[in-house]
């Protein structure tokens, strides 16, 4: 049998990185296995204004790179491999990655994160990468001097819309709610209202994306009157929430009806020695800071679990 790690952490977003940092500092043998580079969704977030300790704000890539460096400094390895299957009931537990390699572990910390949700509009799939996007930092550049629509009105939607005004000529935010009513935090709302490049369509829902090879227009439905109108845009950015990346955990650990992992205050899941942290966990607030807190708790809980068994 190969090396048995004290903990194998699946996912390298802020939750997984914090867990790796605490585990490493506690001298546990730990490895983080992640399909992407460290950072998770936070790495694709342009501006982070509310992570404590950064009064001038920071960026997602800068903060998560610092977290990854900090974690590595305590000896926790980070490998880029995609987990395809897990055996959480076995002793030791098994984490299998694409290509057939297996990691063995006394405990497993699940930090798979979430990904942007699709609305499944007509044209949304067809024009993916042709003007339809879920990542402003990835694709904003393409829309220099062009017009884009943003779907959604939460923190992410309004903040990413402001980021897009650096490139785009006009950014139109499509909002289902009545005029002036936004779901996002008040400081972002105030700044967005003051931004001359941002325009609003209230009582509105996107209906269909049309174009010829590339996006040319968005059909918008007025939710009060049912009337359809046409908005000429080159891009449509969707920020309508996220869904957990827990498909590989179906039947392995208890999930709620939306696929979020159920864990208690100690991050313990339905399986002994298995913990869940970050956005993939059923929780009240999904932020970098709450993911990092989850990670710290899970690593300490895992350490106690191992000590209790020895």
């Amino acid at each position: 049998m190969g090396q048995v790690y004290d903990t194998v952490i699946i996912g390298a977003g802020p939750g997984g990185l914090a867990a790796g940092l605490y585990a490493g500092r506690a001298k546990m043998s730990a490895v983080i296995v992640a399909k992407s580079l460290p950072g998770g969704q936070a790495a694709t977030t342009a501006e982070l204004e509310n992570y404590p300790g950064f009064p001038k704000g920071t960026t997602g890539p800068a903060l998560t790179q610092a977290m990854a460096d900090h974690t590595a400094s305590f000896g926790t390895g980070i490998v880029q491999e995609e987990v395809v299957d897990v055996d959480l009931g076995a002793d030791p537990k098994v984490v299998k990655v694409y290509g057939g390699k297996e990691y063995l572990a006394r405990t497993v910390i699940l930090a798979p994160g979430a990904s942007p949700k699709s609305l499944h509009l007509q044209g949304e799939r067809e024009f993916l990468g042709k003007g339809v996007s879920y990542c402003a930092t990835c694709d904003g550049d393409f829309f220099e001097d062009l017009d884009v629509a943003v779907i959604g009105n939460g923190d992410t939607a309004v903040e990413e819309a402001m980021y897009l005004t650096r490139f785009a000529e006009n950014v139109t935010i499509i909002v289902r709610r009545k005029e002036g009513d936004l779901r996002c935090n008040k400081s972002s709302a105030e700044r967005a209202f003051a931004n001359p490049k941002i325009h609003w369509m209230w009582d509105s829902a996107p209906q269909e994306i049309q174009g010829d090879g590339l996006v040319e227009r968005l059909i918008v439905r007025n939710t009060q009157t049912g009337d359809l109108s046409e908005l000429k845009v080159d891009g449509v950015f969707f920020f309508v929430g996220t869904e957990p990346q827990t498909g590989f955990l179906q039947g392995k650990v208890e999930l709620d009806q939306d696929g979020y992992i159920i864990a208690n205050d100690m991050m313990e899941t339905s399986v002994p020695g298995v913990y869940a942290v970050g956005d993939a966990r059923q929780k009240f607030l999904r932020q970098v800071i709450t993911a990092a807190a989850d990670g710290a708790i899970a690593a300490v809980a895992a350490e106690k679990y191992i000590a209790g068994r020895e």
């Binding site: 992407s36 995609e82 694409y98 993916l128 990835c138 393409f142």
Partner: protein, 104 residues
């Protein structure tokens, strides 16, 4: 992998016989950077099946848009000067390998 840009795209991609894979990426695109090592590994494994090219869309915006690429990451497959297949945004290295085997 061959770095292509607006100057050599036509020669290296459109005028090349056989299957050509083009990896559209940019420095700001984290998912692109995450995918890079896996694409490099595939370029070694399938060196005899396809020509592998990499295109920085951040510095070649017009060229990318002319190829109808307005989102990253994108991996496009060309043959005989025509785009024959494309993978957009939410795909894995495994998807690229499946597509390579299908087209090669």
């Amino acid at each position: 992998m061959v770095a292509v840009d607006k100057v050599n795209f036509e020669d290296e991609v459109l005028k090349t016989d056989g299957l050509v894979l083009v990896d559209f990426w940019s420095q700001k695109c984290e998912p692109c950077l995450a995918l890079t090592p896996a694409i490099h590994a595939l370029s070694e494994k399938y060196a005899d099946k396809a020509k592998f090219c990499t295109l920085d869309a951040g510095t070649n915006k017009r060229l990318s848009i002319s190829q109808k690429v307005m989102g990253l990451p994108t991996v496009a497959f060309y043959r005989g000067g025509e785009k024959v297949a494309e993978l957009n945004q939410s795909f894995t290295a495994e998807d690229v390998e499946v597509k390579l085997k299908e087209l090669a």
